[in-house]
Amino acid sequence: MSEATARRRGALARFWRDYRAQRAGLYGAAILAAAVLAALVTPLVTDPAGLDVTRATGEKMAPPSPEFPLGTDESGRSILLTILWGSRVSLLIGFLSALLSMVIGTVVGITAGHFRGWPSAVLMRITDWFLVLPSLVLALVLAAILGGGTSTIVLAIGVTSWASTARLIRAQTLAVEARPYVERSRVLGGGHWHVMTRHVLPNVAPLVLANTTLTVASAIVTESTLAFLGADSGQASWGSMLRGSYDWGAVTSGAWWYVLPPGLCIVAVVLAFTLCGRALEAVLNPRLRGVS
């Protein structure tokens, strides 16, 4: 129905108007847009050959110069180039593992909220188990067992970070399930699948979206931490750069250009995701504003 699309568009316009009112969210979105754009454009304008240790042209640990605006690392590679290519890995892992985490969390949360009784109890005990487990250690172990590679890191982060999401989604599901329209749907003959997909999911979706944004931020931090601790994907990321700077004593030797850029990038992107997530939460969370 064309009227329905017009209404959806109207709802979108209203959302954008509300979002624009969140100034911090706008800054976050701008930083994100820049980071994603840079990650997308990098392969088009730079040559990955510069990342190859054997073909690096610069001096070792050289300070910033016109040729290498952010200096070089221990193998003579350009820090700027590594940062740009590393952003692709960091963002990709961040997005994918957040996605995985949200899918698991949403499925577990809705299932546990919808089916009362023992299925819910079992799922919530598993959730609690993941919640109290030191997830970083678990992720390290997982990454070590599964071997290197981007998918391993995504899996390791995704599988260890869904528990708090599941709790959140379950709480929201319980609130939605208590609404009379869910009972009405049941009286109309709607089964479990119908209620979960037609009524619960659309109502928790905004929460999921806001939460995903926040999860991306923490996933990027976790990726960096894992890389710093040695469990990396085999490709240069911001975390592995920090590891390299640590291994080569960049701080003690005063090579600030090796430490600061990846560190600041992580801070900026994580902050941007957090700002966006908070803004989305404020705009979309039905508990923070009335459901219209």
């Binding site: 329905a4 009379p180 009972e183 009405r184 009286v187 709607g190 089964g191 119908h194 109502n203």
Partner: protein, 322 residues
């Protein structure tokens, strides 16, 4: 004859570690084309009874029958049952998903059951519920409607399945006074035009007087008096019905019962109404020589037959010699 029927129905809950007998032995029928009002105070079990008749609660014992056949509780049987017995809920605002348009809300039932001709079905259901022209309402969201219109949308959603019985739980309690009569008139018109039966659950005796053919008065999980509306509401036999009628704002001599509606986890022995009974307290029951039975012997469960019935030792004793 009898379309929807409860036979010796018992429904129980666990409430703070105790067993609450919310419905404690009820026989009730709703005939074809009949509107029955189930009246009682909150906590008397009338909503639980309605939910059990809708298949939303499972009885501890006894059966729900539709068209003579007992209701089975398999997923498939329940889904088929839903096409026949539909709910008109108390709060139309909460009963509509705020994210669904009127069209989606009414089409939900036909979609679940895979009924053909969805658009025509929705349009005809909306116009039967008094929302005309139906196309004008299709794209609207619940918050764009008035309370009365929302209740009509909910009723249209039930009508879209062509049910045989509507179970209406306080259908006008949350509506504005001036809109109330219109919704009740709609229920009467649906009965006249479609032969739709209805069980109307309410605490409002005026509502029963307005639309019902028969009334059943419920107290603490049991029906204590039932019969044709004119008879029961004009000449009530049970002391509880008498008290309920006497406290209506227009009544000349109110009999205000002491205490709160009692607790279904602690149903008194003997007649369950005896601790609050004004007839027993006033000594009339003793005069008729039934006070001992009031305190010790529960009256029999009222059968669901037509005619006026009352579960009261005193009423029976005073009726018998006459």
């Amino acid at each position: 004859m009898s379309l929807l029927e409860a036979r010796d129905l018992h429904v129980e809950f666990a409430s703070r570690g105790r067993r609450a007998r919310a419905v404690d032995g009820v026989d009730l029928t709703v005939g074809e084309g009949e509107i029955v009002a189930l009246v009682g105070e909150s906590g008397c079990g009338k909503t639980t009874l309605a939910r059990t008749l809708l298949g939303l609660e499972r009885p501890a014992s006894g059966t729900v029958r539709y068209g003579g056949a007992p209701l089975a509780y398999s997923t498939r049987a329940l889904k088929a049952y839903r096409r026949e017995v539909q709910l008109v809920p108390q709060d139309p605002t909460g009963s509509l998903n705020p994210r669904h348009t009127v069209y989606e809300a009414v089409a939900e039932g036909p979609r679940i059951h895979g009924l053909p001709g969805e658009r025509e079905r929705v349009a005809s259901a909306l116009s039967r519920a008094g929302l005309r022209p139906p196309e004008r309402f299709f794209p609207l969201y619940p918050h764009e409607l008035s309370g009365g219109q929302r209740q009509r949308v909910v009723i249209a959603g039930a009508l879209a399945l062509d049910p045989g019985v509507l179970v209406a739980d306080e259908p006008v309690a949350s509506l504005d006074a001036s809109v109330r009569g219109e919704i009740l008139a709609l229920l009467l018109r649906l009965r006249a035009e479609l032969g739709l039966s209805a069980l109307v659950v309410t605490h409002d005796l005026g509502l029963a007087w307005n639309i019902a053919d028969r009334v059943a008065v419920m107290y603490l999980g049991r029906i204590v008096e039932s019969g044709p509306v004119e008879q029961v509401l004009s000449a009530p036999s049970h002391p509880y019905t008498q008290a309920l009628l006497s406290v209506l704002p227009e009544s000349p001599a109110p009999v205000v019962l002491g205490g709160e509606p009692p607790d279904p986890t602690r149903i008194p022995g003997g007649c369950r109404f005896h601790p609050r009974c004004q007839v027993l307290a006033g000594g009339l029951a003793a005069g008729a020589g039934v006070d001992g039975r009031c305190r010790s012997q529960p009256p029999a469960i009222l059968p669901a037959a037509a005619g006026s019935r009352v579960a009261c030792h005193f009423a029976e004793a005073s009726r018998a010699p006459a």
